[in-house]
């Protein structure tokens, strides 16, 4: 297996017309996002298309997807520092950076999504240990701290800080911290496995919603995250072949489990409530298209082929394409889980579901505006990181 090593210098950052256009695009995204955010903060969530029937929508999808796609950080840290596959070290810094962007993205969107952003700190002070959402909040907080510790050596190494007073002392301290990398990787692995699966449990434990309430939910969430997170890191780094193979096999396992879930859990283990709910979704919403075409074919089958077959996986273009498809597949699966579960109306009495109409929701302008702003934030962080941080120079200090 040929492994492409990354020996890349930070990209030249001259203000070429292309770079100016790129920065202009990012700026435009940010302006759209900020305008939308100001609107939402001043007038409230009434501006969104969400309702009491469908209280979660696009923003929750972004939260879930961003955290799932940040899973490359813990997966690669574990591979390098716990399983000792040092040759993959060049990409760890980048993976942690992408993870950091993903988690901060989720937190930013979450602050937009809760009705009282001024009380974002309540889960840290007022504990409900029975709540899976409380557990997720704590895990994400702790994991963000772990990622910052993992990433601190990279930040202080940046050439940008060469002339900052006391930077030498800071670097010495940070490199001591770097020695703790295996411990941090182990902690990160434990915490990540917990909250990545708990995000699935957020849906899986809701017994009032028939198509959510199943034990396979956490498994599907964590497997899709482990399979696709590294693929996103790969797409950002542009190409490293071994990681796409890992993702490819991860996708195959995820795909198999999706079938297992469909057959064993949903079909053979079905209850009348699940039957009714799925019938309603299939006949009255584009559920089948979303599931088969977007999630399975686009999100699993095609990327797995591109990642595994020798014909395609030598060509970076196919690999990046595959990674983007897998990423889209994960985002769409999170969307499908969220909205299709909420589209099925609550019925108090069995056998009355057919009388009710499914809920309706499609994000409106202000919700898309926030989404565009969030993408602007991600692109800005990536651009600045690639320019100013030594993301690809890991090999140097160890040789």
């Amino acid at each position: 297996m040929a492994t492409t090593t990354l020996e890349r210098k930070p990209l030249p950052f001259n203000l070429t017309p292309g770079m100016l256009a790129w920065l202009g695009l990012i700026g435009l995204c940010l302006v759209i996002g900020i305008v939308s955010a100001v609107q939402v903060f001043s007038k409230g969530l009434v501006l969104t298309a969400m309702s009491d029937k469908v209280p979660w929508g696009l923003w929750i999808t972004i939260d879930l997807s961003a955290i799932a796609l940040g899973a490359g950080a813990f997966t690669l840290s574990a591979i390098v520092y716990l399983f000792g596959l040092k040759r993959f070290q060049p990409i760890v810094r980048l993976a942690v950076f992408v993870g950091f962007i993903g988690y901060t993205t989720a937190l930013l969107t979450l602050v937009m999504d809760i009705g009282r952003p001024d009380r974002f700190w309540h889960p840290w002070v007022y504990w409900n240990i029975h709540s899976v959402l409380w557990e997720i909040t704590w895990c994400i907080t702790i994991y963000l701290a772990i990622m910052i510790l993992e990433f601190l050596p990279v930040v202080v190494d940046a050439r940008l800080f060469d002339r900052v007073p006391y930077i030498r002392q800071a670097r010495t301290a940070a490199h001591l911290l770097h020695k703790a990398a295996p411990v941090l990787a182990l902690l990160g692995l434990g915490i990540s496995l917990l909250h990545q699966s708990s995000l699935g449990a957020t849906y899986g434990i809701v017994k009032s919603r028939p198509i959510w309430f199943k034990p396979s939910m956490p498994i599907l969430f964590i497997l899709s995250a482990v399979a696709v997170g590294p693929a996103l890191t790969m797409a950002v780094a542009f190409v490293v072949e071994w990681i796409t193979r890992f993702s490819g096999f991860g996708l195959l396992v995820y795909g198999y489990l999706k079938f297992w879930d469909l057959a064993a859990v949903t079909y053979y283990g079905r209850t009348p409530a699940v039957d009714n709910a799925l019938y309603m979704l299939r006949t009255q919403t584009p559920y089948n298209f979303g599931f088969w075409v977007m999630e399975v074919i686009l999100g699993i089958v095609i990327p797995a082929i591109l990642f595994i077959t020798p014909r395609f996986n030598r060509n970076p273009v196919y690999l990046v394409m595959g990674a983007l498809m897998a990423v889209a597949g994960v985002i769409i699966s999170r969307w499908d889980v969220t909205v299709s579960g909420l589209f099925v109306p609550l019925s108090y009495a069995p056998g009355t579901l057919y009388k009710l109409t499914p809920g309706r929701y499609f994000p409106n302008l202000v919700e898309w505006g926030i989404a565009v702003g969030i993408i602007g934030y991600d692109l800005l962080m990536l651009t600045l990181g690639i320019k100013f941080l030594p993301l690809f120079e890991q090999g140097k200090e160890h040789s």
Binding site: L45, S51, D113, G115, R116, R119, H122, Q169, T172, S208
Partner: protein, 275 residues
Amino acid sequence: MSQKKTKVVVELTRRDILKVAGAAVGSAVAAQFLTTGPLSPFASLKQAQLERASQGAIDREKYHWGMVIDLDRCIGCEYCLRACCATNDVRSDRPWNIVVKDQTSGGRSFFFSRPCLHCQDAPCVEVCPVKATYVREDGLVVMDYDRCIGCRYCEVACPYDARRFNWEARSDENTFIPTWGMAEVDRRPRGVIEKCTFCIHRIDQGLAKGLMPGVDLEATPACVNICPVKARTFGNLKDPNSQISRIIADNPVFVLREELGTEPSVYYIPPKEGL
């Protein structure tokens, strides 16, 4: 030169780390002391609250508030909905208390109404990340509007669609006031969840005055008082001699979605011919 500097540096860093750690622990202790200790600006407030609570000396463990709704009696007049909207100042397009037309399997129509069921094993209580909603000792599922962060997980998790979110700051005119009653509680702020409270303010104030909820009108939920056909009965499920306990003992009753194991405090008497 540089090596000497580095040596000094390492020691300084270590000491700095200790200093920072010390400062962090110290400020945490100080914060804890200042917010809960006798120096806290909230201490007097808290003390006053505690004294007031102990003066009333209501033993909530003695009660479990519940309701029985007789589906055969209900005529679908929606008086309960209106009285509720007036008393609790609820938006009429998103009522806490709903009334819908339903049909038995035999085809006869009846009216079905639903307050919050105040489940003893409530899914909404379980999922709240900040304990903004909880089951009180007297069985009421209460909301702490000052603690709710508006994540809407409880709204998603409630199997009975009993919860409503404040999507905007209220500026609507409540047309049910004064015809159907006067607002007895404040409007809820933007961004928090609300739901039926069983008119908790009436229960608490009534008990403090020595009244019995379910017997004395002043201490009984508005929807129960206004019902023209006495389809709703309110009272203490823990007292075997209360009217509600006797009705439950003498009639066939069921609860909604029993298979979920939520243990609602609201019982229904089905139509005579069955559901």
